[in-house]
């Protein structure tokens, strides 16, 4: 095995273990920590594909900002171990079925397109900072601006909700 392949399998294993542990952990903080492991492992995979910028942004935005907010809220509310109601226990059985179905679907898709997966080129120029900025600010500038507008609306909504009690 070549070195990048070893790194790939280590990172992939980390991501999968993190994702499983995210679901199985009892305490919300432990789940949040598992999610951080998944995020960082994904960033490593992006780096392996040559997408340096995306990898860094993945850690800064998801690993840093968003997960810090999660952890902050869990700490602030001092959320303890999750309580299970009868309904949430019952949800396990159909959930398992869905997991099997989804896994089968994904496996079938990969098996079908195995050759095109192998032939996938390194991201290269397109994933460089220049390539991404060209895409965001030239080719897809209107969808990008629309998305920023959507986020602005969400921010305004949050502000209004937070100030509701004053009026």
């Amino acid at each position: 095995m070549t070195a990048p392949l070893v790194v790939f399998f280590v990172l992939a294993a980390l991501a999968v273990i993190g994702a499983v542990s995210l679901i199985l952990q009892k305490h919300p903080i432990h789940s949040a920590l598992s999610l951080i492991v998944v995020m960082v492992a994904l960033a490593g995979l992006y780096l392996l594909l040559g997408a340096e910028f995306v990898a860094a942004v993945q850690i800064i935005v998801y690993g840093g900002a968003i997960m810090v907010l999660f952890v902050f809220v869990i700490m602030l509310l001092n959320a303890g171990v999750e309580e299970h109601t009868n309904l949430s226990k019952m949800a396990g059985a159909p959930g398992l079925l869905l997991v099997v179905a989804l896994a089968g679907f994904v496996a079938a898709t990969i098996a079908k397109s195995a050759e095109s997966v192998h032939a996938a080129p390194q991201t290269g120029e397109l994933a460089s900072t220049l390539g991404i900025s060209n895409m965001i600010f030239k080719d897809f500038v209107y969808p990008f601006e629309l998305t920023s507008f959507l986020i602005l609306v969400a921010v305004l909504g949050a502000t209004v909700l937070a100030q509701r009690e004053k009026s």
Binding site: I59, G63, A65, L69, F72
Partner: protein, 411 residues
């Protein structure tokens, strides 16, 4: 053996460099505590540490030993895994960020099995240098926040909450304030950011980013101090309110790990300030003033002689032996630079970078000796209502100036 070395030269170089850098950073950290205590003491008309060794120079060693031998209790009801993970995370991330700093533009004059040896662990050509640094800083919050949460104690929890809120707030300003510099350099690469400040070698100090980016520098430095939890932003460990904040329940070497992490991030921030705004390894003098290349010797030789003289007058026998020895070594180093022009040429870049880092470390200590702590609401208002808008204004103004220059062609 030889075949192993030649086929894995890159790996061997990296491992040796990591070990060396670890040793240097940890030693510098230890003496930074000595420096801080000494400087703050003199600012407050005290002597500071001066019992252990001449001028207290062995105090860091005594402190380190003390950390190793202290009892290390774990609080009842603590979340064991997270409690042990937090200091590890804090220290590991702080040390990783140092690995991304380039300390000089040129590789060492000799090669190791055909591989160039650069100063700094990664080669200076990492394209996302500054972004990777921000990524590591962004993860740095977890050490403090998790330590506060996992201790199962109210003061650490409050400290952890404060630090998460503080770091989220100031990270925005920190990142935005650098955008101006990135726009001027057109790159995330730390080496290219420095080289962009050398476009006019004859301008020397006036070519640095700090002049056009003075607003950005102000925002960056303030936000960076807040990110490192140092005075006046040390609310997560405000000792008058929270005992010792997030690390109240940590003793022995686990506490030392937080301590080392904090001092290491101080060094990283000083490196970043020098690189982004103060020309990194560039000399402040115009490039044609070659006589300034003797400055390292001009500083080192008199300083060494002064240490020798001071040593002869020192009160203890130990000091009278050690200090002249140290002074001779320093003066000797200065003499080597005078006598070997090649070596002198090579150390110019690292010399300037290290001098600038030293100045910023002094500013850190100076602030600690001078400024009172912020109140929590002041801290939030300062970050969100002043720093963030200022750094956004800086980005907009810089982009317009660059756009205007591109359009009307000032040069």
């Amino acid at each position: 053996m030889t075949s192993f070395l030649s086929s894995n030269a890159e790996l061997v170089i990296t491992v040796v460099k990591i070990a060396l850098l670890l040793f240097i950073v940890l030693t510098v950290n230890a003496y930074l505590t000595w420096f801080e205590r000494k400087v703050v003491a003199h600012m407050q008309s005290r002597w500071g540490p001066h019992r252990v060794g001449p001028h207290g120079l062995l105090q860091p060693l005594a402190d380190g030993l003390k950390f190793l031998f202290k009892e290390d209790p774990t609080p009842a009801g603590a979340d064991k895994f997270v409690y042990y993970l937090a200091p590890l995370l804090a220290l590991a991330l702080a040390l990783t960020s140092i690995a991304l700093i380039p300390f000089g533009p040129e590789p060492l004059p000799w090669k190791f099995y055909g591989k160039a040896i650069y100063l700094g662990i990664v080669s200076p050509d990492v394209n996302i240098g500054i972004l990777a640094l921000f990524a590591i800083t962004a993860m740095g919050v977890y050490g403090v926040a998790l330590a506060g949460w996992s201790s199962n104690s109210k003061y650490p929890l409050l400290g952890g909450l404060r630090s998460s809120a503080q770091m989220i707030s100031y990270e925005l300003a920190l990142t935005m304030s650098v955008v101006g510099v990135l726009l001027m350099a057109g790159s995330f690469n730390l080496k290219q950011i420095i080289e962009a400040q050398a476009h006019h070698p004859e301008r020397g100090i006036f070519g640095w980013n700090v002049w056009p980016q003075i607003l950005g520098f102000f925002c960056f430095f303030v936000a960076a101090v807040a990110e490192t939890n140092r005075v006046p932003f040390d609310l997560p460990e405000a000792e008058s309110e929270l005992v010792a904040g997030f690390h109240t329940e940590y003793a022995s070497f686990k506490f030392a790990m937080f301590f080392i992490a904090e001092y290491t991030s101080m060094i990283t921030v000083s490196c970043l300030c020098s690189i982004l705004f103060f020309g990194g390894w560039l000399s402040p003098f115009p490039a044609s003033w070659t006589f300034t290349h003797y400055l390292p010797s001009v500083i080192l030789i008199p300083f060494g002689l002064w240490v020798i003289l001071d040593g002869f007058r020192y009160e203890t026998m130990f000091g009278r032996i050690i200090l002249p020895g140290v002074g001779t070594a320093i003066a000797g180093l200065g003499a080597v630079f005078v006598l070997l022009p090649n070596v002198n040429e090579f150390i110019q870049a690292p010399f300037w970078l290290l001098s600038k880092i030293f100045v910023f470390l002094f500013v850190y200590v100076w602030m600690r000796g001078t400024l009172p702590r912020f109140r929590y609401d002041q801290l939030m208002a300062f970050g969100w209502k002043l720093l963030l808008p200022l750094s956004i204004v800086n980005v907009i103004v810089t982009s317009f100036v660059i756009l205007a220059r591109m359009t009307w062609g000032a040069k």
